[in-house]
């Protein structure tokens, strides 16, 4: 297909050479590919250039900094990687040939180096002849020798060796190194000779190469060089190479020489500063010799700790049941520092037979030996050594006990807690504390009674440890006992411990309501002074009843009771008391209590998770309630946690506040930088905040502003002081459109006057206080847009709270008091209330309580609306129906209105951003004359029924986005039915995509059978290689095959025309008739696939898109009814 495309280019342009350049330019223009699929596509177009074309492309390399350099590098590098994949062998050969032929054409040495380096990946023997010519070139020998090493064949090695005598300088070194990397035995002799030089660089490279080749003939050269260096590290790396040489010999099976070298090095490198060489020698020797055990045991007693430690690491794999006795014997004989090392090594094995010897060392006088032994014992024995360790505790000092506790805490086993508990009564005090601590950190619920018993201990430290452990060992079986304990406590620490223990025993609750009743019962019978200790317990359970009890206690209690109540509300289960806390903060007169209430409210916010929008709303409630400057600062700092648009607006209001501007600027900048915002408003805030933040942030701001998308962004719709930009409501859009200018102006004047009475700006907020239904409308009309608005239903205790946001002059995104169950308001706000066909209810209830603010984020694109309420998605891309005339889609552009519904409501922070609206598709004059009708023009889906959820509008296209786990994405049908017709549309496939055009389909069943399906399919995708012909794109599915090969590449738009007339079905794809079917035969004798196709008999039905789980794009859909 592509060939055809290029042929036509050739014909058009007439001259082949020019065509070649055009093709090359076309390829280069594609670079770089955006993903693997397009890379593959791009690389197959490189392949189509052919060798000559590719050479032409490469010859464009003119060196770094020249205009086409990067795109040629992308193409060449991409092609190199592409051709190395299995199955691309012939293209690999083509690339090698092309690189070889292109090299002489390149003038610049960087370009040559770049092409030579391609052989690193694509080179085989076919590249050797070319590469060998560059081995004597000082500039290019590095690249050429690298590639030859990678080719790694007899020919490449011979080429390197042949070049050796001819090369000089850097080239020579490159060749030597490459021979080493290639481990070419035949080169040993020559390099042995070259190694005898005074040139340190050459010597170094030679030693390296010889070490890699590891030919026995090099032994003399290598050992002499190492000896000459004094076995020290120096610039020729002689000793290192000598060691690697021995290592390689060993790998090649030459144990004898390796052993000899090892022994030699251990003997020669005696100096302390050569211990690493001696270690190296030991490693060689151990690996090469038969009696490893003796060597390692001897080394384990060496005076040098580095040598010892290394020897013990080498010994680790050889510790077995059979060798353990030798090691434990050694352990007893050596000094303490060596003991530590051996114990550490044994601890890394699983040698249980070593345990007695190790445990004996756990009683050593040396603390380090002791702790190493304890840890080794636990590593090996786990629970098995628990008894010994507990016993050891009683003779240990506090550091020793800590070591044991740590060891027990990481011990695996099932009876640990039980053994620990059993040991408590008879242990000494410090051990008791430690043992209780273990039960605490293990949350040993089954050992409650052991801990409880120690609450009465005469040892004060034991007693206090038992109290602190109480919380973690308490379970629901212990609640009753704990209530008694709580009532008996005599100091606040014990009381708190008991309180927490009760909470812990109740928390994994099965039935909170029942538990609340139990707690309330206990509270009633508790002594008066202990009642307030129950508030937190109630708070841990939560629920309305508990909340009411504590709130009432606050309202009627004395100062201490109030404080205890606030403390309980602050930690209330799931932040369930925030509403009460903020209410107290608003109503309380006592400044200290207000501060405490706000503090508790802020603590509750910190401990729970909210959407950023909700988080911000709560911070704003706190800001309004507090008078304390420190709390205000804390709130302003917390704003950075609430990363959302409104947070920027809110912080932005405080940039001039002397006390808060610092915090405001910090939070504002952090919120902005963490998101993607644009527009003048944000830019203005950033510039204003900039002088108030640190240097790093300032740089980040500059970078951010420079990267901002162009455009005005969000603009304020309400100036906070008057109704500029707003007007009153005159009838509805349809009626207004019919009015003459004069009538409209008169009505508008009247409406504006009413609006001024009903709508009042107060402190930057906009209140509706009227009685009527006078909506406030924007002067400006909006098409596609995004808006933010905060709203609040004011509780007038009439229970009729209702309002809403009209979009495009139409009702509405609903706002109502969710307690109005009779009106159905329990579903929450944010739904498209007046929808009849499409969803009218919100997805969930996300409303805040009356008198609290809420945030709407509304997005309207084409005929669809998305609403977030307080940060939660409540309306997901739902079509807004036209309330004023249900026979037409929603108006493309109209005013936004704030609804008045007779109840008091307030709005604030209104911001809108206009979005670009796609231009609607229009019929050509010819089509108009011909009687075509538009079914989809990019702005609405009014003419369609069926699955309007997965099929949606996006940038003027009709797109199916099947949701995971929701089947195939379903079908979308025309509202009208058609029998004979001409249907024209465009579509774009994604890789492997499958969909279908249903014709004469009913609305039920599998339309491929109950109607007919004209296949829409990326049938070039590999997964479809075994398709039946009647499944190709354009086929009458299962019945009559279409011609394959006329689809545009995936990602490009196809144009298709379908003509259906009686039994004749013609499909024209991109100008070619791919199917000219007559179903008469199939109607009579059945379909080709042998399956029943009742749809073949139908004369009429819907046209539709039949989803198959893949993303497909459609646009410009029109139809001509032939009946």
């Amino acid at each position: 297909m592509k060939k055809i495309y290029f042929l036509s280019v050739v014909t058009l342009l007439q001259t082949a050479a020019f065509a070649q350049d055009t093709k090359v330019a076309a390829v280069l223009a594609q670079m770089p590919a955006s993903n693997a699929a397009t890379l593959k596509k791009d690389m197959s177009s490189v392949a189509e250039l052919g060798e000559d074309g590719f050479i032409t492309l490469i010859s464009g390399l003119k060196g770094p900094g020249t205009p086409t350099n990067a795109s040629i590098e992308y193409t060449v590098g991409g092609f190199t990687a592409y051709v190395t994949q299995t199955g691309n062998e012939s293209l690999r050969k083509m690339s090698v040939d092309a690189y070889i032929k292109a090299l002489p054409k390149l003038a610049d040495r960087q370009s040559k180096q770049f092409i030579i380096s391609q052989f690193d990946l694509v080179g085989r023997d076919d590249a050797v002849a070319c590469l060998k010519d560059y081995l004597t070139d000082n500039d290019l020998a590095d690249a050429a020798s690298r590639a030859l090493v990678k080719i790694n064949s007899p020919a490449s090695k011979t080429a390197l060796l042949t070049a050796l005598p001819k090369a000089s300088g850097a080239a020579k070194l490159s060749v030597i190194e490459a021979l080493g990397n290639a481990r070419y035995k035949a080169a040993a002799k020559s390099i042995n000779a070259l190694a005898k030089t005074d040139d340190a660089a050459q010597a170094k490279v030679c030693y390296y190469a010889l070490s890699q080749i590891a030919d026995p003939s090099s032994e003399m050269v290598m050992s002499t060089a190492a000896a000459k260096s004094g076995y020290k590290y120096e610039s020729t790396n002689a000793t290192k190479s000598y060691l690697v040489y021995a290592e390689q010999l060993l790998k090649n099976g030459n144990k004898l020489v390796a052993q000899k070298i090892g022994t030699n090095l251990i003997a020669k490198a005696k100096a302390a500063n050569l211990v690493n060489v001696r270690i190296n020698g030991l490693k060689l020797l151990v690996e090469a010799s038969a009696n490893k055990q003796a060597l390692l045991l001897a080394a384990a007693g060496d005076a040098d700790p580095e040598y010892r430690a290394a020897a013990l690491r080498y010994a680790l794999p050889y510790v077995t049941a059979a060798t353990v006795p030798a090691w434990t014997k050694k352990l007893a004989m050596v000094k303490d520092d060596a003991k530590v090392d051996i114990l550490y090594m044994l601890g890394q094995t699983s040698a249980k037979t070593a345990l007695p010897a190790i445990l004996a060392q756990a009683k050593s006088k040396n603390a380090l030996v002791r702790s190493t032994a304890i840890n080794a014992a636990v590593n090996i024995g786990q629970e098995q050594v628990l008894g010994s360790l507990i016993k050891l505790m009683n003779t240990s000092d506090s550091d020793g006990i800590d070591v044991i506790v740590d060891a027990i805490n990481r011990m695996k086993g099932t009876g640990i807690a039980q053994q620990v508990a059993a040991a408590i009564p008879t242990a000494k005090e410090s051990a008791q504390v430690a043992l209780i601590g273990i039960l605490d950190s293990r949350a040993a619920g089954d050992q409650f009674s052991a801990v409880y018993a120690q609450l009465k201990s005469n040892n004060p430290r034991t007693r206090s440890a038992a109290f602190s452990a109480l919380r973690r060992v308490s379970t629901k079986q212990n609640t009753a006992q704990l209530f008694t304990l709580l009532n008996q406590t005599t100091n606040s620490d014990d009381e708190e411990a008991a309180q927490n223990a009760v909470i812990a025993s109740l928390t994994p609750a099965d039935n909170s309501a029942q538990q609340v009743d139990i707690v309330l019962g206990q509270m009633t019978s508790a002594p008066e002074s202990k009642k307030s200790a129950y508030y937190k317990i109630l708070g841990s359970l939560g629920g309305d009843k508990a909340l009411k009890t504590v709130t009432e206690a606050y309202n009627s209690g004395n100062a201490d009771t109030k404080k205890a109540a606030l403390a309980a509300l602050a930690v209330w289960a799931n932040g369930g008391a925030t509403h009460e806390l903020i209410k107290i903060a608003r109503q309380e007169k006592d400044a200290d209590l207000v501060k405490m209430a706000v503090g508790s409210y802020l603590n509750a916010i910190d401990q729970n998770t909210y959407t950023p929008e909700q988080h911000l709303l709560m911070l704003r409630e706190a800001m309004a309630a507090t008078k304390d400057i420190d709390q205000k600062k804390r709130i302003m700092r917390s704003v950075e946690q609430a990363k959302c648009f409104d947070a920027i607006i809110f912080a932005g209001k405080y940039l001039d506040d002397a006390d808060l501007k610092q915090g405001a600027a910090n939070s504002l900048v952090k919120v902005v930088l963490a998101g993607e915002y644009d527009g003048d408003l944000i830019k203005g805030f950033l510039n204003k905040a900039k002088p108030l933040v640190g240097n790093r942030q300032q740089q980040a701001i500059d970078k951010y502003i420079a990267a901002m998308k162009p455009g005005e962004g969000f603009v304020s719709m309400f100036n906070g002081v008057d109704l500029t930009g707003w007007k009153g409501l005159v009838d509805d859009p349809i009626k207004r459109a019919k009015m003459d200018a004069k009538t409209l102006a008169a009505k508008q004047e009247k409406a504006d006057a009413e609006a001024k009475v009903d709508w009042k700006p107060v402190n930057g907020e906009l209140f509706f206080e009227g009685k009527g239904f006078q909506n406030l409308c924007t002067v400006k009309k909006y098409g596609d847009f995004e808006m933010y608005v905060d709203w609040k239903i004011i509780d007038d205790h009439k229970g009729q709270g209702d309002a809403g946001i009209y979009l495009r002059g139409s009702p509405q995104v609903q706002i109502w008091d969710t307690t109005r169950h009779s009106a159905g308001a329990q579903v929450g706000s944010g739904g498209l209330y007046n929808n009849q066909v499409h969803e009218s209810k919100p997805l969930k209830v996300a409303d805040n309580k009356l008198d609290e603010w809420n945030t709407f984020h509304i997005i309207m694109k084409a005929d669809r609306v998305t609403v977030y309420l307080n940060g939660q998605l409540v309306t997901d891309n739902v079509i807004l129906e036209n309330y004023w005339d249900r026979k037409q889609p929603i108006f493309p552009i109209e005013q936004i209105e704030l609804q008045a519904h007779g109840s008091p409501v307030a709005y604030r922070d209104l911001y809108v951003k206009e979005l670009p609206q796609p231009k609607p598709f229009e019929l050509s004059d010819e089509e108009k004359k011909d009687g075509f009708k538009v079914l989809f023009d990019g702005t609405n889906m009014f003419n369609w029924i069926g699955n309007t959820v997965d099929y949606t509008t996006e940038d003027g296209n009709l797109v199916i986005h099947p949701r995971p786990g929701k089947g195939n994405g379903g079908n979308l049908y025309t509202k009208q039915e058609y029998s004979d017709f001409v249907f024209r549309f465009e579509f774009k496939l994604t890789p492997g995509a499958n969909n279908g055009l249903g014709i004469r389909a009913p609305l039920e069943g599998d339309a491929a059978y109950t109607g007919m399906e004209l296949q829409i399919l990326d049938n070039e995708a590999p997964q479809y290689k075994d398709l039946h012909v009647y499944q190709y794109h354009g086929s009458v599915y299962g019945t009559i095959p279409a011609k394959r090969g006329y689809l545009k590449p995936v990602g490009e738009w196809n144009y298709e025309e379908v003509i259906v007339k009686g039994p004749k079905i013609k499909v024209i794809l991109n100008g070619t008739v791919i199917n000219d079917a007559d179903i008469t035969e199939a109607r009579k004798n059945g379909a080709a696939d042998g399956k029943p196709h009742p749809g073949l008999q139908r004369d009429s039905g819907h046209i539709g898109f039949l989803g198959h789980g893949d993303v497909v794009y459609f646009r410009n859909i029109r139809v001509k009814d032939l009946k």
Partner: protein
């Protein structure tokens, strides 16, 4: 999860910490006593040299309070700036090999660009020095293997300069890695696990580390020995963007944000998944085509282990509200939040993870391996390098973690161990 006070105390008190205290309490043990007749330090403190004092190297100056006795850099300006900063007559060098020959240096800190890490680490080991090396450990898988071998053959101590497996809050997780390890070991999440590393779980992939294609050659500034800066890398004409603060954008020296942050982010994952001795068996990439010289960005890299565990690196940061770790029985979100009810108590019943050696000075003195050593660091760095190779080729790769080679992909294997420019070798 909030850990109880007691548990916190215990978990912080690692055995090794204790043993080091033990050492100090019994005798002041300077290096010359432990290590034989080496240089006698002015106190019992170990000494260090820093190779590469451009950006990161300067951060190494205060590490573990060991005095800097020598610094080395191929940029004379770096050298004079940092010498003035340290004072105390610190010795300055432009050839690291001379530094390695100084008897008074105990530990060599390597803070050069990554293409130099392998060579200097191996040479330092051969010179009998212990090594503290910047991440990523090495620029290629082949070099990593060689470093591991050289460290072990010479009985050296090695640490890589990342630390999240044992201290500090692990980026977006808002908790150290140790409790995560305990949770994973407990089996409460089930198996296999999927770990997501991206913006939404608190990990930034730093895509500002991208290179510029087609740099126009510029004159080399007089203070810079550019040829040595290039070292083992192939010769390319000088441009300031290639070196110093921006080298991460070039394949010859590093691999962008993945290389910069990958080992920080994935080493703790290897630790808590218990994969310290192995690697994933496949890597898949979703990325735009990469330039042959300049590193670009990527959208997603997915690693899969033999047992089905996965690490998903999300470069787009598009998904929100996904868990950091997801298993068949439970999920873990940033801040140690989980869908497992009453997790704290359930988890308490399980044993603590084994202790870790968390001070390199202690490691050097006691000759016990640092918790981030040549073996596990090689493994976590190999994950990074697997990703880089898959990006360069823009295709999915299969890997054999035992043989350390890619399966059925000759090109990927060739990229694993590129040759070095003479006279450099490893």
């Amino acid at each position: 999860m909030s850990l109880s006070k007691k548990e916190n105390q215990n978990s912080r008190r690692d055995f090794i910490k204790k043993s080091a205290v033990g050492v100090a309490a019994f005798s002041i043990v300077p290096r010359y006593v432990l290590g034989g007749t080496k240089y006698l330090a002015p106190s019992d403190k170990l000494t260090k040299a820093i190779v590469g004092v451009g950006g990161m190297g300067r951060n190494h100056i205060p590490y573990e309070d060991t005095p800097v006795v020598a610094i080395c850099d191929v940029d004379k300006k770096h050298l004079s700036d940092v010498a003035a900063m340290i004072g105390n007559g610190v010795k300055t060098f432009s050839d690291y090999r001379e530094v390695l020959q100084l008897p008074e240096v105990d530990i060599v800190h390597i803070a050069t660009p990554p293409h130099w890490h392998g060579i200097i680490s191996v040479d330092a080991a051969n010179a009998g020095k212990d090594v503290w090396c910047e991440k990523p450990m090495t620029h290629t898988i082949g070099e990593g293997k060689r470093v591991k071998e050289a460290i072990q053959a010479n009985g050296r101590m090695f640490r890589i300069n990342t630390w999240f497996r044992y201290k500090d809050v692990f980026y977006g997780m808002g908790t150290p890695a140790r409790p995560i390890k305990k949770l994973v070991d407990s089996g409460l999440l089930g198996w296999p696990l999927k770990v997501r590393v991206g913006k939404y779980t608190g990990f930034d992939w730093k895509f500002y580390w991208v290179g510029k294609e087609n740099l126009e050659p510029q004159p080399v500034p007089p203070e810079l020995d550019y040829d040595t800066w290039l070292g083992p890398a192939q010769y390319k004409p000088y441009h300031p963007h290639r070196v110093h603060q921006t080298f991460r954008g070039y394949w010859d020296y590093d691999g962008g944000g993945l290389s910069d942050m990958g080992q920080h982010y994935m080493d703790p994952v290897q630790y808590f998944l218990g994969k310290d001795d192995t690697n994933p068996i496949s890597v898949e990439v979703d990325a735009p085509q990469q330039h042959t010289d300049a590193v670009g960005t990527w959208r997603r890299i997915t690693y899969t282990y033999a047992d089905g565990c996965q690490i998903i690196l999300d470069g787009e940061g598009k998904d929100t509200n996904v868990p950091y770790i997801e298993g068949p029985k439970g999920k873990l979100y940033p801040g140690f939040k989980s869908d497992i009810p009453d997790l704290e108590r359930k988890l308490a019943a399980f044993p603590d993870p084994p202790p870790q050696m968390t001070s390199f000075v202690d490691s050097v003195k006691t000759r016990q391996k640092f918790t981030l050593n040549e073996e596990n660091a090689f493994r976590s760095c190999t994950i990074v390098n697997m990703g880089l190779i898959a990006l360069k080729l823009n295709r999915s790769l299969k890997f054999d973690p035992v043989k350390l080679e890619f399966i059925d992909d000759e090109a990927a294997n060739r990229l694993m161990n590129p040759s070095m420019r003479e006279p450099y070798s490893i």
